[in-house]
Symmetry: C2
Subunit: 335 residues, 2 copies
DNA sequence: TTGTAAGCGTTATCAG
DNA sequence: CTGATAACGCTTACAA
């Protein structure tokens, strides 16, 4: 088994010095086309790939960005809508992306503060997470996407969850519903808190609306369980507002299972506009936020830290408008 | 802005030499508890994190494994079932995991042959991919999961797709169906080819069965389109065997949209047993393969390359049995 | 048990 | 335009 070739081997093969190999392959401006070709050819022949560790050690840059996710988020159909454009935008900026799927703060921190990445995109951060604070302390450029943390000073890009929730709650209230249930996600997620605030703000300010609140994860099972509880209660709600599409689909399933007519007897709404929400059997009325734009703006915020431009202080938070998508799961309450 | 601390800084703070810092923090056996404590304390105080690039450069190991996926796979609900246990098994073996979500061979190769990972788990490999060959040529330990490539010499761990497909086709044939359609995935995926072979083997050997074949991606849209074509044809199939659950759900949706009774008028089967397949509104009859065990076996195959044990030649391929899951979308053909 | 010395492969600096 | 030289931060070998 032959040793993996280094730039020294390429140099010998091409008859140049080792630093010249580095310059030639890096596309350095002041190298003669002749030597560049010779070096390229030799590198090709030997199957030479510059070693990341040597490069990173010397240059103190890895040209790599970590996108931090979590096992929970990996299961959510909304996730790829965020990951793929992030990957693309970072690639366009000359950065490679590695996705970290970790549950614990410690595991994440140990992997992003060891100099192996130039920056971090946080997509699954809990409100109580210590990660943003530690990153700031270590001077690691970072940006939050689709999440906010209470402490200031962390660049973030989010949809206006509160506004989106308020808008769809307004639609439901406007239809005349007075028996409304909310099915929310975990308290540790800013999206859930903000959506809750949006829902509540509208429902409280309207006419006498009786509101029940259930809580769980952003998943199908939560929706099923919530619907079981709500639909077997003595006084059924006539509308169920869910903090995510995954929850709403669970509610829809359980409702149909029980022969409850949606939207005739029951209005159900979601949030996120995952692909399934648009499928014909569901046609879920929901709130859309533009993950692609969210990703692009987040990358912009991150890049402004990586290559700080003079005079252009980037805004700390970008908040994108969320749009209500009216499909077929909403209607006035039964008379 | 202060420089990020190095082991030298810790050494000075703790009043020891720099290599002693390395030994103390690495849990090296022959360090006095006193100095170990002193070093630990100093490191803690300075917020020292050993730099990956220095470590990797010197030790020639990164303690990191790349799990290679693709944007397409990221969208498939089966994906997390594989990724999460892979992550867990690798973590238990002392390796950190980074997920690579790349479409092109070149992008993948450039990231896994630069010494930044000790090994590679390939979860989304096309049959024609050059990646396994290049990895073998570069001497990078690797293993294929849920995929096979034609060339020998690449350790792999897969479900017995052919057997699983044959078994479920046997069930359908046994019910008496003679008008059967197959909706398959891309030709570039071994899973699709093997499932096709399993389906066809049984259907060809049975009594006169008329078989139609459609092809697309492993996704919902493919199922919808296939069902549209098949159900509006003059001679409708009485059973549609799908190469993935995502396809089958699309078929189910379209069938119900058209008021076709499943399973009364139409039998529909899937493959993978994704969580949705078990949801009550679907109750899809399908084939289950154990992603958790697949992941665990794959990691075992990879580890046997990373720490080669004497005398224990690891098998090249592990093939796991696939089980038919009988739910509620199969029945005899209408009379 | 600990310190000294060396070197991993690369990029940056400086002559020439 | 190119070569010699140094240095990045760490782990290993060897000496004390």
């Amino acid at each position: 088994m032959t040793r993996v070739p280094t730039s020294k081997d390429v140099a010998k093969a091409a008859g140049v010095s080792q630093p010249t190999v580095s310059r030639a392959l890096a596309g350095h401006p002041h190298v003669s086309p002749a030597t560049r070709d010779r070096v390229r050819k030799a590198a090709e022949a030997l199957g030479y790939v510059p070693q990341e560790s040597g490069r990173a050690l010397r240059s103190r840059r890895s040209r790599r960005i970590a996108v931090v996710s979590s096992p929970d988020d990996l299961l959510n159909p909304f996730h790829p809508q965020l990951i793929v454009p992030l990957h693309q935008a970072l690639g366009a900026a000359g950065y490679r992306t590695t996705l970290l799927v970790e549950a614990g703060d410690a595991a994440v921190l140990s992997q992003v503060t060891d100099g192996s990445v130039d920056g971090v995109v946080l997509t699954a951060t809990n409100t109580g997470s210590a990660v943003p604070r530690h990153l700031a302390a270590s001077g690691v450029p970072h940006v939050l996407v689709n999440r906010l943390v209470p402490e200031p000073g962390h660049p973030s890009c989010v949809a206006d969850n509160r506004q989106g929730a308020a808008d769809i709650a307004g639609v439901v209230a406007g239809l005349g519903h007075t028996e409304v249930a909310l099915v929310l996600g975990p308290r540790r997620l800013s999206t859930s808190l903000d959506r809750e605030a949006g829902f509540r703000g509208v429902l409280a300010s309207g006419r006498a609306v009786r509101t029940r609140v259930l809580r769980g994860g952003y998943d199908h099972a939560t929706g099923v369980a919530a619907a079981q509880a709500l639909l077997s209660a003595a006084r059924r709600p006539t509308a169920i507002l869910c903090a995510s599409d995954t929850i709403a689909l669970g509610v829809l399933h359980e409702a149909r299972m029980r022969g409850v007519d949606v939207p005739g007897e029951l209005t159900v709404t979601g949030f996120d506009d995952i692909p399934m929400a648009g499928w014909e059997p569901y046609a879920l009325t929901t709130v859309r936020h533009d993950a692609g734009r969210m990703a692009a703006e987040a990358v912009r915020l991150l890049l402004s830290q990586l290559r700080p431009a003079p005079e252009t202080a980037a805004p700390e938070a970008v908040v994108l408008h969320a749009d209500v998508v009216l499909r077929e799961t909403h209607a006035p309450p039964p008379v």
